[in-house]
């Protein structure tokens, strides 16, 4: 069932994400600084710890009050220098907790959206690889309203992947699914990791992260309380 498919990784070995930001979030102050090296950086913490706000800042959907965000050699945010690259220019994919598929487009059009917006050439080979990997080839003509929760999440993953991002952000992508679905999708994510796609994966579920992450950033009430390998979760 697991096919030998290859997602072309960039020449560099590891994508470097550097985050050093501060933001006032209602009651508490979010202050996080870390560097991600490796395939999957897991952002771990209880709900309300500031995880979503953090990846929203990495995506460019939220601006830090103070700080720097850089991806490889490109500065995405630098409040001191007044730099803010808008989300549509960051080439950072985002898989949301609620999928957020476009209801007026069918699955095929949803998947093709990122390619069109980024003016990328058609890549039927990659399209085939991704639809195989996520097992969504038979859903192409359906509308989002007619998909199950698990199917929606897989399409959302495919949509983000097909926009050829440099980095993939995932915000509790399995959060709204039942155990059965989770069991179904986790292998796909492991596959993605093994393909070499750099990810920042937000979750409050330690078990998930133990399977997926290569590095953990633990967040508690807006502060990084631990930083290291998966052992940190113990």
């Amino acid at each position: 069932m697991v096919r030998e498919a290859r997602y072309k990784t960039p020449a560099r070995e590891l994508t470097m994400l550097r985050v050093d930001v501060t933001k006032q979030l209602g009651e508490f102050l979010l202050e996080a600084a870390f560097e991600s090296q490796g395939r999957v950086t897991g952002l771990f913490g209880a709900s309300g710890a500031g995880k979503t706000s953090l990846i929203n800042m990495i995506a460019g959907l939220l601006r830090p009050d103070r700080g720097v965000i850089a991806l490889d050699d490109e500065t995405l945010d630098d409040t001191a220098a007044g730099v803010h690259v808008p989300p549509h220019r960051r080439r950072i994919g985002y898989v949301f907790q609620e999928a957020r598929l476009f209801p007026h487009l069918d699955v095929r059009q949803n998947l093709d959206y990122g390619r069109r917006m980024n003016s990328l050439a058609a890549d039927p080979a990659q399209h085939a690889r991704v639809t195989d990997l996520l097992d969504i080839g038979h859903l192409l003509d359906r509308r989002p309203g007619k998909l199950s929760g698990g199917e929606r999440q897989r399409v959302a993953l495919g949509r983000a992947l097909l926009s050829k991002p440099r980095l993939l952000l995932l915000d509790e992508p399995l959060g709204s699914l039942d155990e059965g679905r989770k069991e179904e999708i986790l292998p796909y994510l492991v596959r993605l990791r093994d393909e070499g796609i750099p990810m920042v994966y937000v979750s409050h579920d330690a078990a998930e992260l133990r399977q997926l992450a290569t590095q953990i950033v633990m967040l508690k009430r807006g502060r990084v309380t631990a930083l290291g390998g998966v052992k940190v979760l113990a």
Partner: protein, 231 residues
């Protein structure tokens, strides 16, 4: 009873033309304003909102008179337009279209604004993470999802434009073939001896147009809801 005279046909066709032009021209402005009011916060927003709804509550004759003062041959803007661009509104069908467009504008904007507000902004966020620049977010996500609301607003605005009377007759008077719409024709007919039958015919036609427009508007509004749920 049902043989329609040439004068009545003229009024009907003129009304259709005026209302269609008014609606088509007003729609881009309506969409722009609806988007602004739905998605942006800025100083003076409530004043803009009130201004958009003004034609709904001002006496139509007042609106017509203000149009005359502004766009009439000797008006502030009208004089300049006539001299430099050769565009004349007063006592022309274009003026009737302007009057109808302004009077129907609030009815056009409202459904569009509501349908834009109903669109989940998180979808717009998702589209920007997929590489869509702000204008692309608008054309590929916001507008398609708001389309049924746009159509509902257009149809409602059209119905109002076709029935407009007070502002039209004040601004462009009642010239058969040029500015005599169905409403002004009925108005003239009820003052004419033996005009009652013809007036009744036009009244029936008015009602039919208005009813169809309202039903169509409802239908589009319902499709808007279905569309947002991905069906």
């Amino acid at each position: 009873m049902f043989d329609i005279s040439p004068a009545e046909w003229t009024a009907i066709l003129l009304s259709l033309r005026v209302a269609v032009v008014a609606t088509l021209v007003a729609t881009p402005f309506g969409i722009a304003l609806a988007w602004l009011l739905a998605r942006r916060e800025f100083w003076g927003k409530s004043i803009l909102d009130a201004a958009v709804h003004l034609p709904l509550v001002l006496p139509p004759v007042v609106t017509g008179y203000l149009l005359l003062l502004t766009f009439g041959r000797r008006g502030l803007v009208g004089a300049w337009l006539a001299e430099h661009l050769g565009i004349v509104f007063a006592f022309r069908w274009t003026g009737a279209a302007l009057a109808c467009g302004i009077m129907s504008f609030p009815l056009l904007v409202r459904p569009i604004r509501l349908s834009i507000e109903a669109i989940d902004r998180r979808l717009e966020q998702a589209s920007s993470t997929l590489g869509a620049a702000p204008w692309q977010v608008f054309t590929t996500v916001t507008l398609p999802l708001a389309l049924p609301g746009v159509l509902a607003g257009m149809v409602l605005g059209f119905a109002k434009a076709i029935g407009e009377f007070g502002a039209t007759i004040t601004f462009v008077s009642n010239i058969p073939g040029e500015t005599q719409t169905i409403s002004s024709a009925i108005y003239s007919l009820i003052q004419t001896p033996d005009g009652d039958t013809a007036a009744a015919r036009l009244v029936l036609i008015s009602i039919m147009i208005a009813m169809s427009a309202l039903i169509a508007s409802e239908w589009f509004a319902r499709r808007a809801t279905k569309r947002l749920h991905g069906n």
